[in-house]
Subunit: 341 residues, 2 copies
């Protein structure tokens, strides 16, 4: 299936298909130099399959992990592009998860003031979330995504078969962002999670389709796109306080969403889905610690935060909250009014 | 006078007016945090005048010179933006020449994925050339402008009065790019240079207007915008071989244009203008050295170079030349068929 992200002169296809990885020329012009960028933890077979389809291919690798979204790796990859004589007409292809797409995308957006960029996300998280929408960036110190661009790819290729090498925990971690899309925009997608057998391909496709529509409405996150931050305010704080070694990003978002589900029945439905996905319980956090991360995350520029709440599956509300109101939420806890506590 | 660069959703005004520097709120919303970026050689009075008009102003300075278009200064300025809590709604204002606009513009284009950028060029060169068109970049090693963005400013403010602090040589250096615009696009502009008394304001305004039209046609330099490279192929090589301490950028472009003026009478007219501007004569270059710089400039990605030639003032032709043909031009010399040699 091909979905078109319609951003006028920056329009591009998202191709979702089993075995798509074997047919990259369906969306990528391979008759030029292709620089594949990947981390050192990705199964080498995915790289090989893509490489074999390119006439003239160079491969740049970087160490796995969020720490690679840094100036050092950014400069290293730019230098590789220079050393391998990439021209303005050549292309960069990212193969991997969110970190790879963010880093390689930022390189592509700035090398020679921007060359063609393609993304082949290989985790559920990056397939349903970061690969669509053109947000690329690196971190600086403890500030995440503080340096980057809005730079739309020329195409995104999603092959659900590549997910086979992910652990169950990684898969469920990624599905949280899809559940988030359902909670704010589409109850049917929430219902998909309540089926006996999860249809992962259907969930991915529906979730991408929703994200595509949001991005089309608000490419540069001036308004509507902010709803995608549902669960992220407290989620990011938990991520910061406990580290990504303890909880994965999606697991933190799952915890973060609970604080802003404003309906008891819906919260219980969601908790059942969390159980099904074996998501970890919210730990006994320290309120002050999380509050510090929240104000740091906002870079000290605002006194109020736009917070997304959901009272009915498939719809959201936006509210400006000050830090005291957020603190109150944390004091009350994630499970307030649910069957859990 | 206000000229509008019409790039649809990225439209912006260029305001050309004596004393405009005292009325920046004509184009800049000053009711927010403004980060002024400048080099340490600019007369401090220009900075003070702008600062006094801002409610909430922070000032970041960097060492003068092309060498500051580097990762170190780029990172330093980004860190300053973080440390001073610049938000997505704040703005960066560059005050200075081409280096300042390129560096500050690249910071603005990537900090938080892009914040508002305003340019106040204070040299003729940057007023007529680099401030219009949205090309921002830094260098890497010996590769110029290899990392950057196409990022349109929100407004450009040109106050011809600030040119008073420039040396005559700097002024004439800048006028070369205006003469270039005339040679390729508008004979009347060439005639302006032949008047007894130069009307610098008229020259600047006409030149900017021409550049504006080219940028509107081809924002991302896919085709038409390449004509602005007239004189730059050999000009850049002379710049590389002799260094900017010996010849200024415009002086090198002036030399570079001579090789591609294909009409004897026109060449003699142009040489008379060069005399009037006291531009230096073309030195006794070494052909091999210049050829090395030319192939390096093209980053080794092409065997042919698009070269712009002018046979009649106000019109150009584009020709693909291989390295042998360029070498032949260099062997024949800049003054071939002119009265000069």
């Amino acid at each position: 299936m091909k979905l078109i992200v319609d951003l006028k002169d920056r329009q591009y296809p998202i191709w979702i298909e089993r075995k798509a990885l074997y047919h990259i020329d369906e969306i990528i012009n391979t008759h030029r130099k292709i620089a594949i960028i990947h981390d050192d933890a990705i199964p080498s077979k995915w790289i090989e399959i893509v490489k074999e389809q390119c006439e003239n291919c160079v491969i740049f690798s970087f160490p796995e992990g969020e720490n690679s979204k840094c100036f050092e790796q950014y400069q290293y990859l730019l230098q590789q592009c220079i050393d391998h004589h990439l021209s303005r007409k050549d292309a960069i292809v990212a193969i991997g998860g969110g970190v790879t797409g963010d880093l390689a995308g930022f390189v592509a957006s700035t090398y020679m003031r921007g060359i063609d960029f393609y993304n082949i996300p290989t985790t559920i998280l990056s397939q349903v979330d970061s690969s669509v929408g053109g947000k690329v960036a690196i971190d600086m110190g403890s500030y995440k995504n503080i340096v980057g661009s809005f730079y739309q790819p020329k195409g995104v290729l999603i092959d659900p078969d590549v997910l086979s090498t992910l652990s169950i925990r990684q898969q469920h971690n990624g599905l949280v962002e899809a559940l988030k899309m359902g909670l704010i925009l589409d109850e049917n997608l929430v219902c998909e999670f309540e089926k006996e057998q999860l249809d992962i391909e259907a969930i991915i496709t529906r979730s991408i389709d929703l994200k595509r529509q949001v991005v089309q409405e608000d490419e540069k996150e001036n308004s509507l796109r902010k709803i995608l931050n549902f669960g992220h305010t407290i989620g990011h704080a938990i991520e910061g306080a406990y580290g990504l070694d303890t909880y994965y990003h999606g697991e933190c978002v799952a915890m973060g969403m609970l604080f802003f589900i404003e309906d008891k029945e819906l919260k219980n439905r969601v908790l059942k889905i969390y159980d099904k996905l074996s998501l970890p319980a919210v730990p006994d956090y320290d309120v002050d610690t999380l509050m510090e991360f929240i104000s740091h995350d906002k870079k000290g520029t605002q006194n109020v935060i736009s917070v997304i709440s959901v009272a009915k599956a498939g719809s959201y509300s936006i509210e400006e909250m000050n830090y005291e109101q957020i603190r109150l939420k944390l004091l009350r806890g994630a499970y307030e009014e649910s069957n859990r506590k």
